[in-house]
Every structure is written in C-alpha cells, then in structure tokens.
Amino acid sequence: MSSQSRQFTALSRLLHWTMAAMVLTMLCIGVAMVASLANYHVLVTIHRPLGIAILILVVVRFVNRLLNPPPPFPATMSRAERLAATASELTMYGLMFVLPLVGWGMLSAAHYPIALYRSLHLPFILPHNAMLYAVLRTAHTVLAYLFVLTFIAHFGAILFHTLVVKDGIIKRMAPWNIRRVEKETS
C-alpha cells in the first residue's frame, strides 16, 4: 500500500491543524471573555469573525471529507474504539457547524450587530426576540462545554494510542509527510 492511504491528504491535514488552532483559540476566548471586564471588548471583537471563519471552513472541510475519505483505522483499534472515534469526529464536525450558527442566531435575536471587518457586518438571521436570545445563549454555552469535553476525549485517545498502544496513529494526521510504508517495513 502506498503511504498516501495511511495518511490523510495534505489538504485534510492542513484543514485539521488550522481549524484545531482556531477552535482551541475560540474555546479559550469564549471562556475568558465571559469572565473578563478589561478584555471583554477585544475578545468579543475577535470571537465573532473567528466564529464565522470556522463556520465557512467547516463547510469546506465537510466537502473535503466527502471527496477525500480518511485512511483506514490502524489494526490496533477495536470496533468500539472505531465507533467512538467516528462518533467524536461527527460530533466535532457538528459542533464546528452548529456553534457558530447558534452564536449568529443568538446575536440576531438580540439585535447585536455582528461586525466582521470595519463596516462589513452580517445580516440578522432570526427575529428580534429576547427570550429566543436567552435560550440560544444557554445553548451556546452548553455546546461549547460539550466541545471542550469532546476535544479532551479526542486528545486523550490520541495520547493513549501514541504513548501506550504505540501504533503511530498520530502519523495519519501528522503535518509532515510520513515515510513510505515500503521503507518502514523493509
């Protein structure tokens, strides 16, 4: 088998690591801004356009996921582990799509303008309704914490496989191109 099939495509890996950095930044900004007075405004000003960037990229990533299926799981992964990995992948795709959308929706319901850059701003996608805002605002927090938990599970699973099972699973997503299989096994 060629090395390509053991590793995600270069585009997939680029999207993974770019979005990993964006999402982690986003989650940290999210927990920080709700607790901050002095930095609230600057954090909100980053949070909103960054969220929209994630929303756009996750659509690109979803299309890429359909066009470029992932390499097979290593043989060291049990059926249950494979199910869990697929479920967490789906959850994270879902959250990357739904969280920004809920954010956009809740700001629409509160009629908070969503400035992207200078005077460029997003249209409101929901009617002005405080109760709707309150419900979506709570959902935004709950989903964000779910994302934190899913991320921790994902990170923990990768560490477990890399350090304990030692099956080199990380190489599937390594930012660099891994050596050819022929060389490794020869």
């Binding site: 709700v34 007075l37 002095a38 609230y40 701003h121 309150a134 709570t138 921790i152 304990v164």
Partner: protein, 368 residues
C-alpha cells in the same frame, strides 16, 4: 487487512508495567494541563477578580432582583424619532450617521439604579440611551447620563461604590460610614462629586444635558483619529428643578416627559467636544479643560413615546461599544467593562418573565 494498516510501532515489544504507568501518568498530566488551561482562561484560579457576573450580582445585591428588568437604569420609558445630521461631522468621522441627512432613532429615558418602581426624584441620575440605525444597516448605540463627569474612573471603583451604597435595612439609607470610607480611598470621586454638585439640576428629562462621559475616537475617511466626547444639549430652555418637596406623583418626571412629547417633539443638539493631545481619554471622572473645540453635528428629534411593555427598545442592550465604522472606543477601562456588564444584565433579564413596567401603556396614552 493489508500490511499498510500495521505500523511498525505496533510490532514493537509490549511496554513493561512501570513504563505503562509512567505513560498513563504523562497522559493524565497532559489532560490536566488542558483542563487547567481552560480553567485559567475562565478565571477559576482568580475567584476574587471582578467579573461581569459578580458585577451584576452586586446590582442585584443592592437593589434586589426584579424579573425581566435591566439591572441598572431599571425604570424607564421608550422613545423614538430621528437624527438629522448637518454634515459638520463628515470631516471628523467617516460614520455614515454624520453624512447630511436623516437616520431613525429609538431610545430610552431612564433613572439610574436597579429599582424599576422607584419614585422619581430630581437628584436621581437620569439616563438617555439611543440607537441610531444607519443607512447601511450599521447601528450606533450610546447610553448617556445627565452628569458632567462620571463619579468613578475604573470598574473596580464603580463596584466598590455600588456595594457601599447598599441601603442599610434598618435605616433604608446607605451606611454613611461605608460611603465615607469609600470617599477616603477615592479622592477622584470627591473631586468629581464637587463638579457634579456645582451644576444645577434641571426640572425634567426634556431640558437635561446628556453626556457620553467616556471618551471615544472619531476616525475620518483619511484615517485621522481624534479623541472625542459627545453630549446632547437640549433645545428646551433650562429650568432648575424645584427645591420644594418632591411632587406627589411618583412618576412625575416620566409623566411630564410623556405630556411634553405629545404636545410637541423634543430636540437636542448632538455636540462633540474635540480633545487635544494630553487630554485624558481613560478617565471619565475628569472633564476636559474649558474651551476645547466643540462641533454641532446635528439635531436629535424625539417625537414618539412608548411604554417598555410594547416597545422594541425594551429588547435592546444599549451597549456603548455598539459603534459604526468611524467611531472607535478609547482606552477608557470603563467602556469594555460597561459592555461586559450590560451584556450580562441583558442575558439575565432576557430569560426572565417581565413584570409590568412602572410606566404602562395606559400612562403613555394619557397624555394623548
């Protein structure tokens, strides 16, 4: 399964017990570090820091929780009208609101404090919050009060003063000892209060001057940025508040305002004060020196009044940092804090059932 699925590492000898434990410990440390990072950013390690939630709790602690109402400036009535720009602001700021022409405005007159049914009194701080709807869909919100300077410079001092102002249950008044202790620690408040007390209070909302207090920055099309403060100066003539005992009508300020708007539109000039290099932009407790250049940018006309129970302005958070391109925040620490606390207050009240406002739709119709 093909060979490709079996990485070389999987065929390495199994780890010893000690080595496995070490590796599990490493994983534990790594995961704890991630949790710790989130906890750190979320402020869990600094539980004594002021947060928007603690700030809002303080308002509730002092004035009680009034379901569905703003945590500060709880008593109010909503208004609508328009702003007519005279074009004088075009060279100062590229904000579309300063292009010659008219934009629609909705707003709210209020009394400071978290009690929605408090009796009107001449010395209670009056608020005017406005939202300008610009032609390209941008919004400009500003929440102003009728004080010439703000009594505090920092969010921390505001919080301290708020807590010190909690009425003693036995007297119904703030504990003078606590307020005295606060003033002893905050000479800037003593100075600001001297300025505030030197100005005569007007008889009503209609002839009050409303100040932005915080400094902002205007940015024009060329990219020049200047520090500004703005104020709304009334076209209704000044009349001093009566020194006689407070009127019987506990909503007299609002009832008078409603009757006035029904009679004829009320108007204000939007004035900007242009700061000079060296004028403090981070201290709302200090007025800029006399004689700073002022520009009249246009006229605000308020010709409609509506109870909070039916008005769209009720569901607006008059966050002072909802600004159009061409107006930017200054380095005043109060601005970000106001934005954060207003948001917290809005989030709390948005999810609550709203009690009837002090000024009901029937009160607003009376003046018709």
């Amino acid at each position: 399964m093909s060979n490709g699925l079996k990485p070389a590492e999987a065929e390495q000898p199994r780890l010893g017990k000690a080595s496995t434990l070490t590796r599990f410990a490493l994983i534990g440390v790594a995961l704890a570090a991630v949790v710790g990072m989130f906890a750190y950013f979320g402020g869990w390690f600094t539980p004594n820091d002021l947060t928007p939630a603690r700030f809002t709790d303080a308002f509730e602690h002092v004035d009680g929780v009034h379901s569905g109402f703003r945590r500060n400036h709880a008593k109010g009535v909503d208004v609508a009208g328009f702003f007519e720009s005279n074009g004088n602001g075009v060279h100062l700021s590229k904000a579309l609101v300063f292009q010659p022409g008219r934009v629609s405005v909705i707003g709210r007159f209020s009394l400071s404090g978290g009690q929605p049914y408090v009796a009107d009194s001449p010395n209670t701080v009056r608020g005017l919050a406005l939202q300008f709807s610009l032609s390209d869909g941008e919004l400009w919100r500003t929440a102003m009060i009728n004080l010439p300077v703000f009594p505090v410079s920092t969010p921390e001092a505001f919080y301290e003063r708020l807590v010190a102002s909690k009425p003693d249950p036995s007297t119904g008044k703030p504990d003078p000892a606590k307020m005295k202790a606060f003033l002893a620690r905050h000479p800037e408040t003593v100075r600001a209060l001297t300025v505030i007390k030197s100005q005569a209070v007007s008889s009503g909302f209609d002839n009050s001057t409303f100040h932005s207090l915080n400094a902002f920055r205007f940015i024009n099309a060329a990219g020049d940025s200047i520090p500004v403060r703005w104020l709304m100066t009334p076209m209704q003539p000044f009349e001093a508040a009566s020194t006689a005992s407070a009127p019987q009508d506990k909503n007299y300020l609002f009832d008078t305002l409603i009757a006035q708007i029904h009679r004829q539109p009320l108007r204000w000039h939007l004035m900007v004060i242009i700061g000079q290099p060296g004028d403090p932009t981070n201290d709302a407790a200090i007025a800029w020196p006399e004689g700073r250049q002022q520009a009249d940018l246009g006229t605000l006309t308020l010709d409609r009044v509506e109870s909070e129970q039916t008005s769209a302005a009720t569901d607006i958070n008059f966050d002072p940092l909802v600004l159009p391109a061409g107006i930017a925040p200054s380095d005043d620490p109060l601005l970000s804090a106001r934005s954060a606390v207003y948001s917290q207050s809005f989030t709390r009240r948005a999810g609550e059932t709203k009690q009837p406002s002090a000024i009901t739709p029937a009160d607003v119709r009376k003046g018709d």
